[in-house]
């Protein structure tokens, strides 16, 4: 039983990693309605920025603060420079632009920092909290806590601030948002900046575990997609719960279902998602919006 509980805990640890990136995906999707394929790569790039500052001798938290600022600015800049010119184009065109961005950022990171892995310091102490035969590593607890914190902050931002309300209005109907005086372009840029910042947090969180290299987030992205879909793609809480469910399901299936084994375990979250979507097409946490007739 303790073994099972341990697997669940480890699954949640993996799930928290997926949840971090899923939060960023959900953010972008809420504001712009597009799925940003480059989200993981931007997070990876941000992590390299943090690494670069630490390499130059800055302490972890200072480097993190600078990185979050740089990521926020960078995200806004990307919206201005890369996304704005195709604004109003079909959704798919935007998606392909983010695919191009993915390829570009990945290659650029390799060009600048090489494809060799880099060591990234862990902000959380080694060791584990033990209770009833189950050990929870402090890094896992740390990641869960940070992801929970980010989710809470986003919730506050969305629900209890004017900026958040404006962002949701833009997401719901950009034309009407303009009519009530919202600067839609600025809001979209803000959304990209925020998503890039959240992505940077997720990148910095996973880098000590996965080791920093340009393809670090590629594998995480697929799981983050799964997590976001499961959660409904527009709810931060959904993204986090989705991430945890995916992580636990994958871990348990890999450990206990022999037919699945470690090679096919990626299929498990995918099957869960398919089933969830068929039963509840808006995802676990998505609200079915009332369609305009």
């Amino acid at each position: 039983m303790a073994g099972f509980a341990q697997q669940v805990v480890e699954g949640m640890g993996a799930g928290a990693i997926y949840a971090g990136l899923a939060l960023a995906l959900v953010l972008i999707h809420r504001f712009t309605g597009i799925v940003n394929f480059a989200q993981g790569e931007l997070a990876m790039f941000s992590t390299y920025v943090a690494w670069q500052f630490m390499d130059a001798g800055l302490p972890f938290w200072a480097a993190l603060a600078i990185t979050l600022t740089v990521s926020f600015t960078g995200g806004m800049l990307i919206e201005r420079v890369v996304i704005r010119p195709v604004e109003g184009a079909p959704e798919l065109t935007m998606v392909i632009v983010t695919v191009g961005l993915f390829i570009f950022v990945n290659a650029a990171a390799g060009w600048i920092w090489s494809f060799l892995i880099k060591d990234f310091p862990n902000p959380f102490p080694d060791g584990a909290l033990r209770a009833g035969g189950v050990a929870v590593g402090y890094p896992t607890l740390g990641i869960l806590a940070v992801v929970g914190l980010v989710m809470g902050l986003l919730y506050l931002l969305f629900r209890h601030t004017g900026i958040g309300l404006g962002m949701r209005a833009v997401a719901a109907d950009p034309d009407s948002a303009r009519l009530v005086g919202i600067r839609v372009g600025r809001t979209l840029a803000l959304g990209w900046g925020l998503a890039a910042t959240v992505g940077a947090v997720s990148g910095v969180l996973v880098a000590p575990l996965l080791f920093l290299e340009p393809n670090m987030m590629g594998g995480v992205l697929i799981y983050a997609f799964a997590a976001a879909t499961l959660g409904g793609f527009d709810s931060p809480a959904g993204a986090v719960v989705g991430g945890l469910v995916v992580g636990v399901a994958e871990t348990l299936a890999g450990a206990y279902v022999d037919v699945v084994g470690s090679d096919l375990k990626i299929g498990v979250p995918l099957v869960i998602i398919l089933v969830v979507l068929l039963l509840r097409p808006q995802g676990l946490f998505g609200r079915a919006t009332v369609e305009r007739a």
Partner: protein, 424 residues
């Protein structure tokens, strides 16, 4: 449909016509032949003054880390061209193409190099899939495809592709080295294996299982991972549950680091950790922290540039100096550069030993290497091939990580002598 279609069609037609106008098909391949003693043999891509080689590597995509290898090769050839008047008076031109680790791209690039660039030989294709996709073509065209950068045993055991040959020790041989070590040192070892779910991982695991058959050494747990997996932590947990006393880590660098770190984190499970050569470079161990990888065992065949024991080695000093001079942007500490240097100097030796400066001459030369010494390889490791031996390097030496460096121990193991030739 409608007016736009016709316009587009016309535009496409124009593009195609423009493409066709680019030149005649001409004589297929435009190859040339030698005269004299080597009469009738192919001399495409080689003159008295030059030799043109082509290599195919992943410069983009998930396997891009290997894209550093050609930098070491280029530095070596630039050095030889500038300071030794090339190979026997022939300046080497080395063309590098990117296949993104995708077999169809590899085929395209191989054809481009052979047909358009008219290279003398393909000097390295990287990866088993890319090599397997191209070797029918190169052998049909009778183009040497030498020293391919993959350790699959297929290149040496196959008899229908004489123009293709590997270089590095094959994965099965490496597995045999670990098997022998365990059989003598830990005859009752219970082994847990983490392996990459592809030709590399399976070749090594299969070779290992075969080599321990009938002994007290048993594989008690095995877990695979895909290169697309973000992390191998779940696999490591399952392996830890097996309570094995030896952990065989058959991974590529990133996952190697992850597995070493996971092993270090888990204080309840402390097996003897054997990491395969692909992930044994110091660049893999360093991010994990040297204190966490003490006592890890591996095997090697070439000199790791970050290993201080080679600091005063003549070849290593030459390598560092020439890398600085001819590849100023590249970090000589990256072992892929040293790998490239070693394989390029191997080619240098093989080309010098060729009886005819022809494609046939190179093919025969690389299949008749007699104890050829390459200075970037470990002392005692030489290139050796023959009519029944298609594996240039088959010797490795065990090493153990101590302090901040690898310490070689035991003798250089010639796997062919120890275990007999590899047949399948």
């Amino acid at each position: 449909m409608g007016a736009s279609t016709i316009r587009r069609t016309a535009a496409v037609a124009a593009v195609l016509l423009a493409a066709t106008a680019c030149g005649g098909r001409g004589d297929d391949g435009g190859g040339t032949a030698a005269s004299g003693a080597c009469k009738g043999q192919q001399t495409t891509g080689i003159t008295d003054k030059s030799i043109k080689l082509g290599g195919i590597y992943p410069l983009s995509g998930p396997a891009s880390a290997y894209g550093d290898i050609p930098k070491g090769i280029k530095a070596y050839f630039d050095y030889v061209n500038a300071e030794q008047n090339g190979i026997g008076g022939r300046k080497v031109e080395f063309l590098v193409r990117d296949d993104g680790y995708q077999p169809p791209k590899a085929v395209e690039e191989a054809r481009r190099l052979v047909e358009q660039e008219q290279v003398f030989a393909l000097f390295q294709t990287l990866g088993t899939p890319s090599t397997a996709a191209t070797w029918d073509y190169t052998n049909q065209r009778k183009v040497p495809q030498v020293f391919v950068a993959t350790g699959a045993s297929l290149w040496g055991t196959d008899t229908r592709h004489p123009w293709t040959i590997g270089w590095q020790p094959n994965y099965v041989s490496e597995a045999r080295v670990y098997a022998r070590y365990l059989k003598t040192d830990r005859p009752a070892a219970k082994v847990a294996v983490l392996y990459q779910n592809d030709d590399f991982g399976k070749d090594l695991l299969g070779g290992f299982k075969k080599a321990i058959a009938g002994s007290g050494v048993k594989v008690v747990a095995e877990q695979s991972y895909e290169v697309s997996d973000p992390s191998i932590d779940p696999q490591m947990r399952n392996l830890a549950g097996s309570k094995a006393d030896v952990f065989l880590n058959v991974t590529t660098p990133k996952f190697g680091s992850q597995a070493l770190a996971a092993d270090a984190r888990n204080t309840d499970w402390n097996p003897l950790h054997i990491v395969n050569n692909v992930a044994a470079s110091r660049t893999v161990l360093q991010p994990v922290g040297f204190k966490n990888v003490q006592g890890v065992v591996s095997a090697t065949y070439y000199k790791d540039p970050t290993d201080p024991q080679w600091n005063d080695d003549a070849e290593m000093r030459l390598y560092r100096a020439k890398m600085k001079q001819y590849a100023p942007g590249a970090d000589p500490n990256i072992p892929y550069h040293a790998f490239g240097w070693a394989v390029a100097s191997s080619f240098h030796k093989a080309m010098q030993a060729a009886k005819c400066p022809t494609r046939e001459g190179l093919r025969d030369s690389v299949r008749n290497l007699n104890n050829v010494q390459v200075d970037m390889l470990l002392p005692g490791v030489t290139l050796q091939t023959g009519p029944d031996d298609g594996f240039p390097i088959e010797s490795m030496q065990l090493m153990r990580f101590k302090g901040e460096r690898w310490e070689l121990f035991g003798n250089v193991i010639d796997t062919r002598k120890e275990f007999g030739p590899l047949t399948d």
